[in-house]
Subunit: 342 residues, 3 copies
């Protein structure tokens, strides 16, 4: 596998990922996807190494995906669950990480509800001079790079199953619809998709858009027009307050999970109103390209972000493919991080 | 092992199990019990395969038994615990199962407090055309087939350690005592034991018997007489409102766990009263065959369903043997389900 | 490895450990520490065997250390967490242990908030005539032998990295500072350190010292003088109500975790006051030998038992080494207990 150019111990953010790095992940994940299609789905790559899943914020789904990726590389896994941990006993998060380091952990997969925690742990590992890799599995509303990479892999695999690569997205239009403001998935996806040369169109109610993006909304923003100042450092990013201009001729539609607490925070009138204005349905997809595909990072609120019928329709929905890709992409990341140590 | 006749991907209920299927499970479990007596208790049968334990209702004991069975077949295991899951985030149970399917799970072991959930998941797997096996590890008050199969294996092994088989139960009398109404264990046991040709005698207070069985109680039911209309489709099933006629000359006595909440539901006056009327004691066993053996699915309320002294008496109690048999029987089921895929 | 003299199935307390046993543990742990420095950190020693971690009192840190030790010996592990267990269903602790025995567990690692539980389980295993090893991973305020053994290993390794052995501590002075009253770690350490011939000096506020030790405090105890009746069965144990005489010329300082609930129990005025009087700081260490080292079993309340700066100072702090030693020492214990079975 093409690891020669890979020099990252940590995968924390996609903000500074290069095209070569994206392509290395895509190509390595493609090799592992092939492994997963065999009857015996294991390789001895990380035998004797320890991957610790430190999930300060619980997530069975993502933790299972990482655990399975590690096991299929023959690593041993340790699971840390915040609920029963010594955090309740007053230990700091860095101390917890250093405890797992001292036990002999080779890689740490970290989720925390505050932005910056995986970065802080990675910085501490570097300061200590140890070659332990840290992977950000979601930090607050900041980033969730492995999710964005599996989304990228899923999309590229649709475009060329044999050779998924970044360049395939050049000139494609991708809509990201939903609660952009609170979504670390959206933030990571914006980095990877704009890096590919795709046109990225965000659509959300104004209350669920970061202030940062306000200036990108065109004067007819309230009416849903496309932004007039789309270029950020040559990246093609557009912002809309209605869903239709984002969907128009889109090749891929990424829907985001809507946390139900947004309503008690008065950011949304009702789930029904949200679905009425931003929910992705068969009908709305008629605005898109005929071969349009829909993604969702899961778990889905059926009938809110996406209609139940559409979610289960294999012609349009890539949701299962995303989960399958997730294991291959996470195997690739652990493999690459591990090989950068030698 | 005799897998040629095995065609089930799923083990959901014993209602339609054939004699050949029972005997295949018994024979396969006997082979695995032999493996478990070796120093190295592992076989490579399911290497590279993934068994997901989806326990929507928590149960450390049953989950550990399945986890150990899977590990001894060299499978990788994933544990899903409802408490920390995305179910609290609004995902449906079918979506959770499909997520584990998409990750690459080969077999799912499912427990849920509502009847029918494993069946619904199995139906969805079949609808999707995937060959993933689903095993019902307890659904509501409906069935718990692996528990009944381990009970059957335990009993048959007493009767012939070398060749446990269904026919050994022909003409034996088996009493099932306790909260029949709420017991999925009882339901599954009634299927397997009556299928064997044994005489099955249920004994419970009227409040803890299913309405369905009311007609089977004889006119002197309140006085504890044996039912007069015992035959259901040639199965020898008798129902009693007192324990003595069920114990009379019994070869095996299966006691059932009594949930303490039955009292707050006013189905029982007190645990003490229950023990006085239905508790199994050394004294009551004098009604049975001299070699009578007692079973309990665990966990036991000592001094309620069974006297503490009797529970610890290896001359009568098969409770430990049941737990040991559990691992062998679950290895057999996972093995058979896995081999039916080829 | 030098297992010939090892005859313990269980490791429950250090009260009756012999010098030969301490040295066997130290020597075996040194061999495993060497294994842990290799790239592939696994040995096949316990392949096919099952280690059950029965943590009736939750502890992610200690459980992870044992789990990793077991996995690096190639054992399969089962984790029992009290929260989701059938204990809430009324099963006794002995019944839980017997259930794991019947499943085929070879070794049990047990933590419980009441003193004596691991001993009771070990006694039951012996009564049943099974050769299952029980390891006390902390019982109430009684003992925590594996922690004391890893502390011993950490200290001896500082004194002679190649041949850690008990005799190295002869004539050394070791201070144990903090909540002695509630500390099982202190109790186990007192056994091992005094057995080595070291001088052990306890320092704590009178409210956090066991009554048992009151008589050992000298008449000037309140002023912090050294005890005048230090000898207990030839063991050199001294007790102080202030920290300074314990630190004077000490070679090692062991700090203990302070539970915050001690304040609501009115045993302490405030954490700040405690730190002011007993907290270990760079300044206080000037009383000690120049090469003094500081230990803490973790998790640490930074700025309470020990200053934050000192905790992170590798010149003085052995806290990380303790965690690393923990895995090697626990591998040694599981290995020795396992080999005593043959």
């Amino acid at each position: 596998m093409p690891t020669s150019i890979w020099t990252r111990h940590h995968v924390l953010s996609l903000a500074d990922f290069t095209s070569a790095e994206y392509n290395t992940v895509l190509q390595t994940a493609a090799s592992f996807r092939e492994v997963l299609s065999r009857r015996t789905k294991k390789v001895p790559t990380l035998q004797g190494q320890v991957v610790a899943n430190l999930f300060f914020e619980p997530s069975t789904r993502t933790r299972s995906s990482f655990e399975l990726a590690a096991k299929r590389l023959s690593a041993d896994t340790l699971n840390f669950a915040a609920a029963t941990s010594s955090l309740t006993k007053g230990e700091t998060i860095l101390d917890t990480a250093k405890t797992y380091l001292a036990m002999g952990t080779d890689m740490m997969v970290i989720r925390h509800r505050e932005a910056g925690v995986p970065q802080a742990i990675a910085a501490e590992m570097d300061r200590l001079g140890v070659r332990v890799g840290v992977l950000n599995a979601g930090d607050g509303q900041h980033e969730h790079p492995s999710q964005a990479l599996l989304d990228l892999f899923t999309i590229c695999t649709i475009l060329d199953p044999d050779q998924p690569r970044l360049e395939l997205l050049q000139g494609k239009k991708i809509a990201i619809v939903g609660d952009i403001l609170h979504s670390r998935v959206a933030r990571s996806n914006i980095w990877s998709l704009t890096a590919s040369g795709a046109e990225v169109h965000l659509a959300a109610p104004p209350t669920l858009l970061p202030q940062l993006f306000a200036e990108f909304v065109s004067d007819d923003g309230r009416a849903g027009g496309a932004g007039e100042k789309p270029q950020i450092q040559n990246r093609k990013l557009f912002v809309h307050w209605t869903v239709e201009p984002a969907l128009q001729d889109a090749d891929f539609v990424m829907t985001l999970r809507l946390q139900k607490e947004r309503m008690t925070q008065h950011l949304l009138p009702s789930l029904r109103e949200y679905h009425h204005r931003f929910g992705i349905t068969r009908d709305r997809l008629k605005l898109c390209q005929p071969n349009v595909k829909v993604l969702h990072p899961g778990p889905v609120n059926r009938g809110v972000e996406i209609s139940s019928e559409l979610m289960d329709n294999p012609q349009f929905s890539l949701i299962s493919e995303q989960v399958t890709s997730g294991v291959a992409v996470r195997m690739a990341l652990l493999y690459l991080m591990g090989s950068s140590k030698v």
